[in-house]
Symmetry: C2
Subunit: 402 residues, 2 copies
């Protein structure tokens, strides 16, 4: 229900793990607001909500268009990001910080935690009778926001994972062995599953894919690999950092080294550490070494932070990330009071998407998982997933064989 | 001293860790030989010397040009590679395998071990009075072949490392902390040092760079990081997998988990495992946590096998890799009896290089290290290194800042 426009300043901020295209969304918001009569200063808040509670702002309204274009093409959060997960008291301070600066429009680019922060701040402003229009702009390489066909940041990360797995498959073909690649995604397996795009010829990897939505059994894991290894003399495996056992416990949580550090959400550290890959490689090596025989060559790589910053974004992703930002600005300027921007797929061939605005509480603090129709069973994803993913990642290279 | 040409078949093979451009060299050899009257069949040997002792060959002479072009642009060794390090007896079997197939021209694309294999097989043929012309075609991402300005494969890997560090620096700027990146290079630090190209602004990472040529002291490491962390509130560190202590022992060798596996060369496994990064991160976290205070955010990524297969090669590298292959074929066709192809820099600005042929024993089994003029001290490389490297890696992206 559009309301009359209100005169005031705007603030935009970025949160959570940065992506290759999060600055496209930032620039989309800024471009969308510039020149609008009711918008005063367009503030950028440094390091997400931190800047709002510590009064660290940058004036985005006066940044030259050429510089904005350069920022849009720059990976990672140009304003800085934060892992802070504001509680009610923290949100009060955010609200106070925004009031102090005369902010009437709040745009928060981030994942499901950010949409929840938006929701809480929005409620505080309503309670206080202070007109504040709060918009959540989606972002996450994990692709785990509900209501979205997919989230900005995911297609570029998926492109990286697919390209890395393509190269890894060729490397493993040249020097055969068992190769385990650990891929980001604490709760949702979309990114790990994206490695499937590397599969072209019958004998291509990834030969096996394990996501958090599949039950992970270490014994089955070894015997699945053994089967592939016997067939092709090699095996490339994609494993999500968030794989879980029958009881829903993260496998990583069973590894001593990983138990040490927990973040503000109580989660153990999964990224920026190679222990899960090393653990799985050791386990497979032990399981598949014949008595008195030679151990197979087993290696593990943890794809790491590159997945979220690699400098070759999907063109679809760059475009959509810009559009969700611009759409949020449009919503504000047409008098929407709050909401979360979502991406909806209009058609797959030719690929076309559109933006829509849903209620903040529809997205806030909810996690989307890979749906059943994308999972064939432990180690395998479906053709439906491939069809869902392919239009998002852009052109992939073609290779020769001898 | 050119000799008269001899009629016979040719064999070409690829060895060691594949690179993004090793197939350019393969195609360079094949194109250079095709149509030459004295060359019969052009064999490709599967998995390096393994194919020669097990009679696994593919006829490369009849591969369509369009397919060859596609292969040239495909990363990793299209013929397959091998880690076998032939001893005298193995070389006898290679020599027998080549004789059996009527081979008179042997092209081996690889590093210093491959040039040594070339040398031994060459000696065997001389001793046997069997005319065999042996050519080593250089390849290694480590850039550790003597007599070469640089080696094909290195510029593309350097480009990857530079681009990854550029993205990592931006990521670390957005979510500040201490980030350790472990980079390939057992004995030579060129590839780790290549991360320096990510440095643009004063506060950009990599803030510290450690190569095997610098003495690595874990205590100094922590205090170096602490100094940067105090200055910038963050620190991005590039560490070679082959860093060594005062006594020349690999730091990785002190980590229990890494001591388990040794390769045919007696080396411990350094790649395909995250333990060194995890070990350093833990050490730094422990050293820099104030008594009763909060530990800094420390993360480690091991860049892994991507370094050698990433699908965005340096254009200079692609061109030179093709040219070293073609040059080897030219040498054969002008009657050279044996040798190792090397790359020499003619000028840096504009960049230009040329190929030359040196004796096999000049390159064989020797390791080149980073020269003293490229090292400023522990943690730092010189401007001379930057000037040496920059023309090799191709255009790097430019970024915006807010």
């Amino acid at each position: 229900m559009p309301k009359p426009l209100i005169n005031g300043n705007a603030v935009v901020a970025q949160s959570g793990g940065p992506t290759a295209v999060i600055n496209q969304s930032l620039v989309g918001v800024v471009e969308g607001l510039r020149g609008a009569g009711s918008i005063g200063t367009i503030y950028g808040s440094r390091h997400g909500v931190r800047g709002m509670v510590s009064d660290q702002f940058v004036d985005l309204g006066c940044v030259a268009q050429s510089e904005l274009e350069l920022v849009a093409k720059t990976p990672s959060a140009a304003l800085g990001s934060t892992r802070d997960k504001p509680d009610a008291a923290y949100c009060e301070r955010i609200f106070a910080g925004l009031q102090k600066r005369g902010v009437r429009y709040f745009f928060y680019i981030g994942g499901n935690d950010s949409s929840d922060t938006c929701r809480i701040v929005n409620e505080l402003s309503e309670k206080a009778g202070y007109e504040l229009r709060c918009f959540h702009v989606p972002k996450t390489i994990d692709n785990d926001l509900v209501e979205n066909d997919h989230t900005p940041g995911f297609p570029s990360a998926a492109r990286f994972v697919a390209m890395a797995t393509m190269g890894d498959n060729l490397d493993n073909r040249a020097l055969p062995g068992i190769k385990i690649n650990v891929i980001m995604g604490r709760h949702a397996g979309f990114l790990t599953a994206a490695s499937v795009l590397a599969h072209d010829h019958d004998d291509d990897g990834p030969h096996l894919i394990y996501t958090p939505e599949m039950v992970f059994d270490p014994e089955d894991f070894s015997s699945d690999i053994d089967r592939v290894y016997k067939k092709f003399g090699r095996c490339v495996v994609s494993v999500s950092e968030g794989i879980q056992d029958h009881a829903g416990n993260a496998i990583a949580a069973t590894i001593t080294m990983l138990q040490r550090e927990r973040d503000a959400h109580g989660n153990i550290q999964l990224s920026g550490v190679g222990a899960l890959g090393d653990f799985l490689a050791e386990r497979v090596k032990t399981d598949l070494t014949p008595k008195g025989g030679k151990a197979p060559r087993v290696r593990a790589d943890t794809f790491g932070y590159m997945q979220r910053y690699w400098l070759d974004p999907s063109p679809v992703d760059s475009d959509e990330a810009r559009r969700v930002g611009a759409f949020a600005a449009q919503c504000a300027l047409r008098g929407e009071s709050d909401g979360s921007v979502v991406i909806r797929r209009v058609s797959s061939s030719p690929y076309r998407s559109e933006c829509a605005l849903v209620k903040l509480e529809q997205v806030a603090a909810k996690t989307r998982h890979m749906p059943a129709e994308f999972i064939e069973g432990p180690g395998r994803v479906t053709k439906a997933f491939v069809e869902y993913l392919r239009p998002l990642v852009g052109e992939l290279p073609k290779f020769g064989r001898l």
